[in-house]
């Protein structure tokens, strides 16, 4: 552990304030990062973490306050300045060009654009050297599109190191990793710290924060509400400070399982590019039960969600609803069969940004009475429906005529919840239902899912967040490369044990056993 008071300050944010209209995103935020230190930056969605980082990286200009790197002030509003001063950022959503090689992605923008020749040989040598120094194994000539999520993250880190970053900022880096990959990442980070780098670690996974950081800074409503060494605090305390009060996650009682509502028998779907399809997969969703699907993203979750959501039929095997194979399989038959679909991406597939709330509310059911009859729309009925959803699901908005683009993520998700839950569905497909929501909205969504389960719905919860899966699910399956693990009952598996399955081990033995 470095001597913080004496160590050199490498990055200093001083009294940063930034407002967007009436909203104060950052309010006099100050932060000092020392050499060889790991700071955890905590805060809910909307607490101002992203804005702060965008100011540091010149995407926004602060209203007031200064940024200093290695004692030199950064000119505001210049995206290059932070990079050139030695600050590297690993975004939560990777910024990689998939059709290009690792080398091209890493070296992009590092050689002068006026240069007459791109020096690939020097770049390759340097990447290989960095890979071995920091234990970041990756093939420089591989196309990024063929890499796993973990490997892509290594490419992102390499990008920063290649630019001689002395300060690394990682935004939710473990969200997409297995517990084992997370351990590898931490090893790389410890190596980096040992070599004199400094790190800001943005996360909401408190046990990881405890494991890797020296100091913690908590933002709430744009203000620093807590700052102190990690040793002087615990997870409960941090969580409470983050939301401003004791966190009241919904209490989860075990569900009482009923009959199988949806069964997949040896179902396969074709691969889609680098994303695997399903491989002879068996799954039963029981009434009154939440089935959690854990796994590293890109291992067939999308294929399973598309199958159950009616976007794609099986290429082999059978899908049964309450024991009966449906006639034809499309989104419309799925909806009419009583499947509530909460899509992974509420902006891109769940809603139409420039439709108003009424038009979005009836998106799945516009062909049904009372919204339309023989091809004619009945807008009054649609509006009444939208109003009732807004009221019953507490969607904060000016009215049903508002374009949904203007709503926050949480309110958008509440509209989707209302849209699909109003028909008292028997099966609920919840794909990443709380991604990007603040804790209030997260708790709301979770309590709605639990309520639906308690009235007898079969829920499939797909999430990359293992904590969420473990908290809510009555049984857990792990998916890896399109294969499904056996069901694990609540509380029978530790995160590490699940991580082994998430990393793709155990499936072979299972195949032999059967």
């Amino acid at each position: 552990m470095p001597e913080q008071t004496e160590a050199q300050v490498v990055l200093r944010l001083d009294q940063i304030t930034k407002t967007f209209g009436a909203l104060t995103a950052n309010n006099a935020v100050s932060l000092a990062l020392h050499k060889g230190e790991v700071i955890a930056l905590l805060g809910e969605n909307g607490a101002g973490k992203t804005t702060l980082m965008n100011i540091l990286f010149g995407q926004y200009t602060a209203d007031s306050g200064t940024v200093e790197v290695f004692g030199k002030p950064l000119p505001p509003g210049n995206p290059r300045a932070a990079l050139e001063a030695g600050v590297g950022m690993v975004h939560q959503h990777f910024t990689l060009a998939e059709n290009m090689t690792v080398l091209e992605n890493v070296a992009l923008g590092t050689q002068g654009l006026g240069a007459w020749r791109f020096d690939a040989r020097a770049a390759r040598a340097r990447i290989l050297a960095l890979s071995s120094d920091f234990k970041l194994a990756v093939d420089p000539d591989a196309r990024v599109g063929t890499l796993t999520v973990g490997e892509r993250q290594r490419v992102e880190i390499l990008k920063a190191l290649y630019r001689e970053a002395r300060i690394l900022i990682l935004d939710e880096p473990t969200a997409v990793l297995t517990p084992q990959e997370t351990d590898d990442l931490f090893e790389t980070l410890r190596k980096a710290v040992a070599l004199g780098l400094s790190i800001i670690f943005i996360s909401h996974k408190l046990h990881e924060v405890m494991a890797i950081s020296n100091r913690v800074v908590i933002l709430r409503h744009g203000k620093v509400v807590h700052e102190g060494p990690i040793g002087e605090t615990d997870k409960r305390d941090l969580a409470a400070r983050m939301v401003g009060s004791e966190v009241s996650a919904p209490k989860v009682e075990p569900g009482t399982p009923g009959p199988a509502m949806l069964s997949l028998k040896a179902v396969s779907t074709p691969d889609r590019g680098a994303a695997p399809g399903l491989k002879a997969l068996d799954l039963d969703l029981f009434a009154g039960q939440i089935t959690g699907l854990a796994g590293v993203s890109g291992n067939g979750q999308a294929a399973l969600a598309d199958l159950i959501g009616g976007m794609q039929g099986p290429s082999a095997g059978a899908l049964h609803l309450k024991g009966i194979a449906p006639q034809g399989w499309s989104p419309r038959t799925a909806v009419h069969a009583g499947i509530a679909r909460i899509p992974e991406d509420r902006h891109k597939t769940g809603t139409i940004a420039d439709f108003d709330l009424t038009e979005n509310a009836i998106l799945e059911r516009y062909t049904d009475a009372p919204f339309s009859y023989k091809g004619w729309m009945y807008w009054r009925a649609a509006q009444d429906f939208a109003r009732s959803v807004i009221e019953r699901y507490d969607v904060r908005c000016p009215g049903p005529g508002t374009r949904i683009r203007l709503l926050s993520g949480g309110n958008m998700q509440k509209l989707i919840l209302g849209r699909v839950l109003e028909g008292a569905p028997e099966i609920i497909l919840a794909n990443q239902p709380v991604r990007g929501l603040d804790i209030g909205a997260v708790n709301y969504v979770h309590s709605q899912l639990l309520a639906a389960r308690d009235r007898g719905a079969a829920v499939l919860l797909i999430s990359e967040d293992l904590d969420e899966i473990m908290a809510l699910s009555d049984v857990i399956h792990v998916i890896s490369e399109g294969r499904l693990s056996p069901p694990f009952a609540r509380g029978t598996m530790s995160p590490t044990e699940l991580g082994v399955w998430m990393a793709g081990q155990g499936f072979e033995e299972m195949a032999h056993a059967s």
């Binding site: 995407q59 950022m89 959503h93 990689l96 060009a97 059709n99 923008g109 654009l113 020749r117 791109f118």
Partner: protein
């Protein structure tokens, strides 16, 4: 067989290369735009404007190469209009492109009437003449086809090499390709997506205009309305056919031009005389559509083509 005779004649291949030349410039121009992520439907109008501007400059007394430069500059100007609307403002590339085509075409016709109010048939200029490259032009068939052309044709071929080199061998080309694949990756490395995309559209539009200028300054020696006649749209099909690669696009342009040269010659054979000439004139357009259909299954479209980038969003 008539067709075999035609295919073996040097004059046929000479004509094919001549027909290909304007397409090569314009295809390269479009390819640069699309590789950076911007579809430029202004191509048809920009070619019209380039054809007029280069020719008009020479008619007004400049030398031929200055005329080419003028055409390039005029193309860049329209590229600036296009890219300003499509890149920082992120407006529909379809609508803006068509708007630029309409604007460039109508401005050109207006300027033509303005400068030459009284003429019934357009005046001629002293156009580029074929320049025979010693020795190389003596090779049978391909010698005259490749090495007895006007300097602008040579420039077209050189441009293919230069564009390919820039795209694949320089840091600038890497950044340009990345802007067409994932602009966020470019922005994250501290480069300006706006500058790269606008630069690509402006430079690409300049090349399109030179393609137009080839028509009035090398293929012919005068400017006519309807002269470009859909060549710009054909070039958009050729970019797809060439899978967004300069070398393949060059091959596509030559193949296409060879078909065009062939139909002109078949028209003059006894067999061709019985077929309405419109059928022959349709061939380039039909071929373009067929090329699109054939390539539709395996086109390697730049991933961010037509996707505007707004750095505030994520």
């Amino acid at each position: 067989m008539d067709i075999i005779d035609i295919l073996l004649s040097a004059s046929f291949w000479t004509a094919a290369i001549r027909i290909a030349s304007p397409l090569i410039f314009a295809v390269l121009g479009e390819l640069i735009c699309e590789r950076a992520g911007v579809l430029n439907l202004g191509i048809e109008g920009i070619m019209v404007a380039g054809a007029f501007a280069g020719w008009m400059a020479v008619y007004s007394g400049t030398d031929l190469w200055t005329g080419v430069a003028v055409a390039f500059a005029v193309g860049m100007l329209f590229g600036l209009v296009h890219s300003t609307l499509t890149v920082p403002f992120g407006l529909s590339q379809h609508v803006v492109g068509l708007g630029v085509t309409l604007l460039a075409t109508s401005l050109t016709y207006f300027a033509y009437r303005l400068f030459l109010p009284e003429v019934t048939s357009p005046p001629k200029i002293e156009a580029f003449q074929p320049f025979e490259i010693p020795l190389l032009s003596d090779i049978p068939i391909i010698g005259p086809a490749l090495f007895n052309q006007t300097p602008l044709t040579y420039l077209a071929f050189i441009s293919v090499g230069v564009v390919a080199y820039i795209l694949y061998r320089t840091p600038l080309g890497l950044a340009l390709r990345a802007a067409g694949e994932n602009p966020a990756a470019v922005a994250a490395q501290g480069l300006s997506v706006t500058a790269i995309r606008m630069g690509a559209v402006i430079a690409g539009s300049g090349l399109m205009a030179v393609g137009g200028a080839f028509l009035t300054m090398s293929a012919f020696d005068s400017f006519f309305f309807e002269m470009v006649n859909g060549r710009g749209w054909i070039c958009i099909a050729l970019v797809v056919f060439g899978a967004w690669r300069p070398g393949k696009a060059l091959l596509g342009a030559i193949l296409f031009a060879a078909f065009d040269a062939l139909q002109i010659r078949v028209q003059q054979t006894p067999m061709g005389a019985d077929i309405p000439y419109q059928i022959f004139l349709m061939m380039p357009y039909i071929l373009s559509i067929l090329a699109l259909i054939v390539m539709s299954r395996r086109a390697e479209v730049p991933a961010a083509l037509m996707v505007p980038f707004n750095k505030g969003e994520r």
